[in-house]
């Protein structure tokens, strides 16, 4: 069964574009990545799924039911972690979490304490005394405490230190093993690559591609930044797999995809001052997609 089924979903805010004709499915038990730069429409899609906003046209189903019409019923089995978390300032963390739990017709107490323990969250502090990262932890606990079947994460890792990020990813993996489906929105490709089975790529409100993460990894782009000792002609980098080449005197940048040894042996023939190999940003990947389409 499709856990999420989005069908030509379109949302305009007045005249400004939110999303246009977005369609994709998320299958049961998968971790589905949803990537795109800021303002691409990730949050708009997610907020429509949660019936926080109403679609201009098109529809979306969750657990086979229309997400607007059956919203409250569907949301019993959804856990949501927004990109920015805000809670009632004057409440204690424990009270916020208990309030959250009170909406679900089940006993979430045990899970609540368990999660707070894993995330190292102090339950007795007031919300407005919490740092951003700690508020995020409250968000994680309140999103998971009712053991939802579908977990929707909207850029969840911002504000978490690396250790907490790892704990959080472990937690998500664990929920996934227990059978939860996960929709994970992010603009950090690396994160998505590590965690997800499939991804949808969105840009300017439109889905560009839905792809297996394995396929995406095969087209594994690296970004090279090199300072040479001598100036160099661009024919030197006429190697299969090099794209987006730019040469300014001794400074060279390009994207490379393919056998890493080929490019390394090519580079080893020259004296280098500096070499940086890094993950390309999402925009650079997108640029590549556009080049391919054009």
């Amino acid at each position: 069964m499709h856990i999420i089924e989005i069908n030509q979903l379109t949302k305009y805010y007045g005249k400004s574009r939110g999303i246009v004709d977005v369609s994709f499915n998320v299958e049961e038990g998968e971790i589905f990545g949803f990537i795109g730069p800021n303002g691409a429409g990730k949050s708009t899609t997610i907020r429509t799924l949660l019936a926080l906003i109403y679609p201009t046209s098109g529809s979306a189903k969750i657990f086979g039911k229309d997400c607007i019409q059956y919203g409250p019923e569907i949301r019993r089995e959804i856990g949501y972690l927004p990109s920015e978390v805000f809670y009632y300032d004057n409440m204690k963390v424990l009270d916020v979490l208990k309030y959250s739990a009170s909406f679900y017709n089940k006993d979430c107490k045990e899970r609540l304490y368990e999660l707070a323990d894993i995330m190292d969250l102090d339950l007795n502090r007031k919300v407005n005394d919490l740092s951003y990262g700690n508020k995020k932890k409250v968000g994680i606990v309140q999103g998971l405490l009712h053991s939802p079947k579908l977990i929707i994460l909207d850029e969840p890792t911002s504000g978490l230190d690396p250790l907490m990020q790892q704990k959080f990813f472990d937690l998500i993996h664990e929920e996934n093993k227990k059978g939860a489906t996960i929709l994970f929105s992010s603009h950090i490709l690396n994160e998505v690559q590590k965690l997800c089975h499939r991804v949808a790529i969105i840009k300017e409100g439109k889905i560009i591609k839905v792809e297996d993460i394995e396929t995406l990894k095969q087209s594994n782009y690296k970004k090279f930044r090199i300072d040479m000792t001598d100036t160099i002609t661009d024919t030197y980098f006429d190697v299969e797999g090099v794209t987006n080449l730019s040469i300014h005197d001794q400074h060279v940048t390009f994207l490379f995809s393919g056998d890493i040894n080929v490019i390394i042996s090519q580079l080893s023939q020259k004296r280098l001052k500096n070499l940086i190999v890094e993950e390309p940003t999402l925009d650079e990947i997108f640029m590549h997609y556009y080049v391919k389409e054009a």
């Binding site: 949050s43 949660l50 019923e73 009632y88 004057n90 909406f103």
Partner: protein
């Protein structure tokens, strides 16, 4: 039920503050009565020398300041103003707070539909108002009995005093209806002050204009203390108008809020 209890908790401080304010106000005002009653003859004479327009604007033509009920009814408008601001604040804020405090993404993704949320919040607001009124009425009655020189018409006193409740109900409904039209309300107080004083100014103007149509516009004209004291009843037409507005405001609030896009943070 959880939302209702949560809202009661959230507004507990404001409830206590406003209720104390109203009680202090009525105690202060009524404690001035003995001093004023002593010179009431003089005061009545002085006031009757005012131009007729001003007398009418102050509602002085029918009220006798030398009686405790007349005095209470004369100053009751200040209680009404404070109470109206309390209610308008509460109404305007109770739904819009979720967007202002950015907690909408928490509450509205819970398995609860928006009509329920309005219902619980409305009930919480009404509970607040009910508590305010019970405390206020007790304080006012007690104070009246302390400062009175002669017996007064208790029924008329209660009829006048209950108009606080009616006006507050009106402003709760009006406040909620106003709030659902805004995408985001940053501060509530300017809106409630503008609404309450706007209606009050229309009311004052109409004291001299006596335009029947205009009197339906402002809730302050619905329950005229002078009319209530002399007739010991409410004007049924205005009661119907008040109920009508309350109903319309409430229906509009439900209609719009359940179809509204919740803005992202």
């Amino acid at each position: 039920m959880n939302v209702y209890l949560q809202e009661l908790k959230m507004y507990r401080k404001s409830l206590i503050t406003w209720t104390i304010a109203l009680v202090v106000l009525v105690v202060l005002i009524l404690s001035m009565f003995p001093a004023i009653a002593k010179d009431a003859q003089l005061l009545n004479k002085l006031l009757s020398a005012f131009p007729e327009g001003i007398q009418k604007a102050l509602g002085l033509t029918t009220l006798d300041l030398s009686t405790v009920l007349g005095f209470y009814s004369f100053v009751f408008i200040y209680v009404l103003l404070v109470g109206s601001i309390q209610a308008m604040n509460l109404g305007t804020s109770i739904l819009s707070a979720e967007v202002r405090e950015r907690t909408a993404d928490f509450l509205l993704v819970k398995p609860i539909n928006r009509s329920r949320i309005i219902t619980y919040k409305l009930l919480a607001a009404l509970t607040n108002i009910a508590i305010t009124n019970v405390v206020y009425i007790l304080a006012a009655k007690l104070m009246m009995d302390i400062v009175k020189k002669a017996p007064y018409d208790t029924k008329a006193f209660f009829l006048v005093t209950f108009t606080l409740l009616f006006l507050q109900l009106y402003f709760i409904a009006f406040g909620i209806a106003v709030s659902v039209f805004f995408k985001k309300i940053r501060t509530v107080l300017p809106i409630s002050l503008a609404a309450v004083f706007g209606f009050y100014i229309i009311y004052l103007l109409n004291q001299t204009l006596h335009d029947a149509k205009l009197s339906y516009v402002t809730p302050f004209a619905y329950f005229e203390p002078a009319y209530i004291v002399s007739n010991v009843q409410y004007d049924v037409t205005y009661v119907a108008v008040a109920v009508g507005f309350f109903t319309v405001f409430t229906i509009v609030s439900y209609g719009i809020y359940t179809k509204k896009d919740i803005p992202a943070i």
